[in-house]
Symmetry: C2
Subunit: 251 residues, 2 copies
């Protein structure tokens, strides 16, 4: 059964058309060029970070660059337990445990790694359904190149998803532990750009290097930026990611 | 005594003015925007790789992008024992030893590291004299931002040079061993972009990571690309370097 895509809003700001939707009940947003050039333009799927939502600035900012500068379509879903989606009792318990660890000055890694893997099991099929639905739209179509962008929780979703969906052409990941992801990364062969923080106090340097090393992609690039976890240079990396996607999704 | 700069040629191709010169007898080339906008534009010094020369495609290609797209001045010297410069008996012996090691399937690292360090002792003061001379030109001036770009042998020259010249604003390095360079890198605090090959058969991965780690720069970025030594993706990295320099040399 093909996924059920329902558009709920349709608005246009200069150069960018924004449509919110649900796909099999999961809320998402699709940004497209306002012009007719949008027809059969490349598509980029993005997944947001922990505690954020489909229209968070980190998603809307990247999307506006990809849509306005590159003429791409960009789609983002609310991840499970995020944005407008409900939290289960299990989610609430994991979030409480993460808060407790942070307050106690303990590492959040054990709970973040296991909860992110749990969310990925739910979200990866949702992204597959999203792509099924979007490729059925006439302005996207079934044959075009598809990029994926996700950092932190977005990487925890994206690596299992990209490993399992051969329609993805190129992917941008970063800022995660390898524990639950390295085995999936070993099945990814498309071009990958991976971002890490060189002085990350949350994710050990060796852990980041190990996850980058795991990708089977013949074309992969690591960007290691000086600074701690929150010092990630979003502007420079978003700029670089846009150029990486332009190289691999267009000719 | 100020260095003696003598222009020997002056020609213009579409958008780019090329002047060859000698500075204290060392041959070099200065590429500038052909338009009047060149006045007080930022300057980028570049140093070529081993076995190459001031106008090798790896230099001319990067320069044309920096001059035509960014409006920068770009200058390159022939390094000692390269291009139009004489080789000493010591140089000939080191080159012969490098050939012998390569033929024998041995690592070239020991001879390359020591010979590059020897060339750097000669070339670093030459780059200082070059900058003195160029900053005396009215179209460049003494106060503007100055970038440095050098890979492989160009990094062996550039790290000691940049560590010793506070006029350098930002630098692009890569593809070298840390042995003779890490101590100099610890004195560099300006923004640095460093390129390595993740599967380099000539420079061990840990050696590249150690040299990147040594820079004292609060803003530094490592680009690690999949592939062996010669698979270095020149186009992508030149593109990225141009944007890095644009961010740090202009506002």
């Amino acid at each position: 059964m093909s996924p059920s895509l329902l558009f709920t809003t349709d608005s246009t700001s200069p150069g960018i058309r924004e449509r919110e939707f649900t796909v099999d009940g999961v809320p998402g947003v699709l940004w497209s060029p306002a012009s007719e050039d949008a027809h059969r333009a490349p598509l980029v799927l993005m997944a947001h970070g922990g505690g954020r939502h489909r229209k968070h600035q980190s998603m809307a900012g990247r999307a506006s660059r990809l849509v306005a500068d590159q003429g791409f379509h960009v789609a983002v879903l609310d991840l499970p337990a995020h944005g407008d989606r409900p939290r289960s009792a299990h989610d609430e318990a994991e979030i409480a445990e993460m808060h407790r660890a942070r307050q106690a000055g303990e590492s959040v890694a054990p709970v973040a790694i296991r909860w992110n893997a749990h969310l990925a099991e739910i979200a990866a099929p949702e992204y597959r359904a999203l792509l099924d639905a979007l490729q059925a739209l006439p302005e996207i179509g079934p044959d075009g190149p598809v990029g994926f962008v996700g950092l932190a929780l977005g990487t925890a979703i994206g690596i299992p998803y990209v490993a399992s969906d051969p329609r993805i052409t190129a992917a941008v990941f970063g800022l995660h532990w390898p524990d639950e992801l390295a085995a999936h990364a070993r099945r990814i062969t498309v071009p990958v750009q991976y971002a890490m923080q060189w002085d990350d106090e949350v994710i050990p340097r060796e852990a980041s290097l190990a996850l980058f090393d795991a990708f089977a992609s013949p074309a992969k690039t690591l960007h290691a930026n000086a600074g701690r976890h929150m010092a990630y240079p979003r502007f420079e990396e978003a700029d670089s990611a846009a150029r990486f996607l332009a190289r691999h999704l267009t000719h």
